[in-house]
């Protein structure tokens, strides 16, 4: 009997069960990164940096060498790693509280120095791990445990658009915002991750892929409604697309 392989386990991830809540998109994003690292032959030279937040345990999930960083410091930790291990494939995996709030200086300066690394930025507009507090990315009028009547511009400011901000940093090479709410976008997101690692491995500098993600538990919605909410509310404020492509092919600069 002829058999045809149509799907194989993703060897870019370990056998550990995910600790993520049902319906959250971390799982899809992990899977894409694992696949890209394996398909590009980078898994055995990869060093990932886990951050603080829901993805703190990502060092248990990616099937490569991993280092866990203090809150927000992943781009600094990755800088230290990449500078002494320039041949390795270095990536950080950070949420929006970690990257856009406490770690804003580290990501801006890593981009500014043109560190040859890949940042995976997962934006779900809330602090998930600590129980649903307002993040710098929380939308106006979005209710969280620390914005119970909804985020107000006065006092809390407007949500930070990180990709747009980093596009203004000369040292950044490739910046793209993607979503994983349907198969079409998942495929597109995978291509973005591939591009980011290509940029890094061809020593063209700093790359970041921002993912629009969900938090069904803290948003108080079922997984499907969460995906719809992200499409209807987040993507209009955080439009998808390439924010900078200063690669040889892209020619932004």
């Amino acid at each position: 009997m002829n058999t045809k392989t149509i799907y194989q386990p993703n060897t870019g991830l370990t056998d550990r069960d995910f600790t993520y809540c049902p319906g959250c998109t971390h799982g899809i994003i992990h899977k894409l990164i694992g696949e890209v690292l394996v398909e590009k032959g980078l898994i055995d030279q990869a060093i990932g940096v886990a951050s603080v937040g829901c993805s703190v345990l990502s060092y248990e999930f990616f099937n490569c060498d991993m280092q866990q960083a203090a809150h927000g410091r992943a781009p600094a930790v990755a800088t230290g790693i990449k500078r002494v291990r320039p041949e390795s494939a270095v990536f950080t995996y950070q949420g929006d509280g970690d990257l856009a709030s406490i770690g804003l200086a580290e990501v801006v300066h890593a981009a500014h120095r043109g560190e040859n690394m890949t940042v995976i930025f997962v934006n779900n507009a809330i602090y998930g791990m600590t129980g649903g507090q307002m993040a710098p990315t929380t939308l106006i009028d979005q209710k969280t445990t620390t914005s119970p009547i909804g985020r107000k511009k006065v006092g809390a400011g407007e949500p930070i658009r990180v990709s747009e901000m980093l596009a203004a940093v000369p040292g950044a090479t490739y910046l793209e915002r993607v979503s994983v709410h349907d198969p079409k976008h998942i495929r597109k997101a995978k291509k973005a991750i591939e591009k980011a690692f290509d940029v890094q491995m061809s020593k063209q500098g700093f790359s970041m892929i921002e993912f629009i993600s969900t938090c069904p538990i803290n948003w108080g919605m079922n997984p499907n409604d969460s995906l719809n909410w992200a499409v209807e509310n987040m993507i209009p404020y955080y439009p998808l697309g390439v924010y900078k492509d200063a690669t040889k092919e892209g020619g932004d600069e």
């Binding site: 030279q45 703190v56 866990q68 960083a69 410091r73 230290g80 002494v84 390795s88």
Partner: protein, 356 residues
């Protein structure tokens, strides 16, 4: 080799290169700036890494990353900058990563001042960061000793898989002294870093993770007990001190380290000229504190005079080391004020008068 005249901060920088430092990450702060300035040029010449970070916080986290991937790493700063680095130092201790931190101390609290001080004693010897953490720490008194300790510290950090802090005050950082950069120093047998996350999982046959997170309290307790065992080993093996003018078993013994010990030496000589014999215990290691020096004190020693360029921080360790066996006296100046020899001489004489 012949001695060369070097400024303290530059001598420490060169010593780091000679000690096998692969990478430096730092942020400008007075009075240690000549150290990164020197390395910014010379590390590249040796094909090594130099990065000026965006902050002390970022710098220590770069150290954490580079150390986690197996490199010998250095950062330097001064008191308020060291306070900022404590987060990363705690992570290094928790993840059992080696690394060397040079602290050219200045006055505090807050922004304090930029003149020499020893007011970081508690920050260095207690737990600067969160958790049951300890940092192996040394406080040399002259540039030759400083250079030798810096050179030795990389192997020492690797040996214990723990950060090592070298604390000098701004005086030692800024002064010039002749030093022999090539004096042999003690080396340690360091096992290969098979724990490092080097990005070679396939070659190694297993993947490595560098973490300080242990969500199961029993596992975290066990981890802490292992760290404690390491600190105990440091206490057994790394106590360093010098005894000065102790042959006559003097009744009064000074306790001073770093620049303060240099001034105390002058006071000992001045008192000797007047026929008064006082001795000195000079701690070189701050953690572990040199308990052995106190245990070996003669019965004839009645008074310990603690001298600091801070206000009674090491004093607590002197009390603990004496354990009630001596009368404990204190003299200190702070805020960047460097005491005169005469002030110590007068203090000794006042103690003698009271004792009569």
């Amino acid at each position: 080799m012949a001695k060369v005249l070097m400024k303290g901060n530059e001598a420490m920088a060169l010593a780091a290169i000679k000690g096998g430092c692969d990478a430096f990450f730092g942020y400008p702060i007075t009075p240690q700036n000549e150290l990164p300035e020197y390395l910014s040029y010379h590390m590249e010449q040796y094909g090594r890494v130099f990065v000026q970070a965006e902050s002390e916080v970022a710098a220590i986290n770069m150290v954490y990353g580079a150390a986690g991937s197996g490199a010998r790493v250095l950062t330097s700063s001064s008191s308020p900058g060291i306070a900022l680095k404590q987060e990363g130092i705690s992570y290094m201790v928790g993840s059992e990563l080696p690394g060397v931190i040079i602290n050219v101390m200045r006055g505090g609290p807050g922004l304090g001042g930029i003149q020499p001080s020893q007011a970081d004693y508690n920050q260095i010897t207690r737990t600067g960061g969160n958790g049951d953490m300890k940092v192996l720490s040394f406080a040399p008194e002259n540039l030759q000793e400083t250079v030798n300790i810096v050179k030795e510290s990389f192997a020492l950090a690797d040996y214990y898989r723990n950060p090592v802090m070298i604390a000098v005050d701004g005086l030692l950082g800024q002064m010039m002294e002749p030093v022999d950069m090539d004096q042999p120093v003690e080396t340690r047998e360091v096992p290969p870093k098979d724990w490092a996350a080097t990005g070679e999982a396939a070659k190694r046959g297993k993947r490595n993770t560098i973490v300080s997170l242990h969500l199961d309290p029993y596992k975290l307790e066990e981890h802490n007990l292992n760290l404690q065992a390491k600190y105990t080993k440091m206490i057994e093996n790394e106590q360093r001190y010098e005894l000065i003018n102790m042959d006559s078993e003097p009744e009064i013994v000074l306790v001073a380290y770093g620049s303060m010990a240099r001034i105390a030496r002058s006071a000992i000589d001045a008192l000797k000229d007047e026929g008064i014999e006082v001795g000195m215990i000079r701690p070189i290691s701050l953690f572990p504190y040199p308990q052995k020096a106190f245990d070996a004190l003669s019965e004839k020693t009645k008074t310990l005079l603690t001298l600091e360029m801070s206000l009674g921080q090491m004093l607590q360790d002197v009390r603990l080391a004496s354990n009630g066996k001596h009368r404990i006296e204190f003299f200190g100046r702070t805020g960047g004020v460097v005491p005169e020899t005469d002030e110590i001489v007068s203090k000794v004489k006042a103690i003698m008068k009271e004792a009569v």
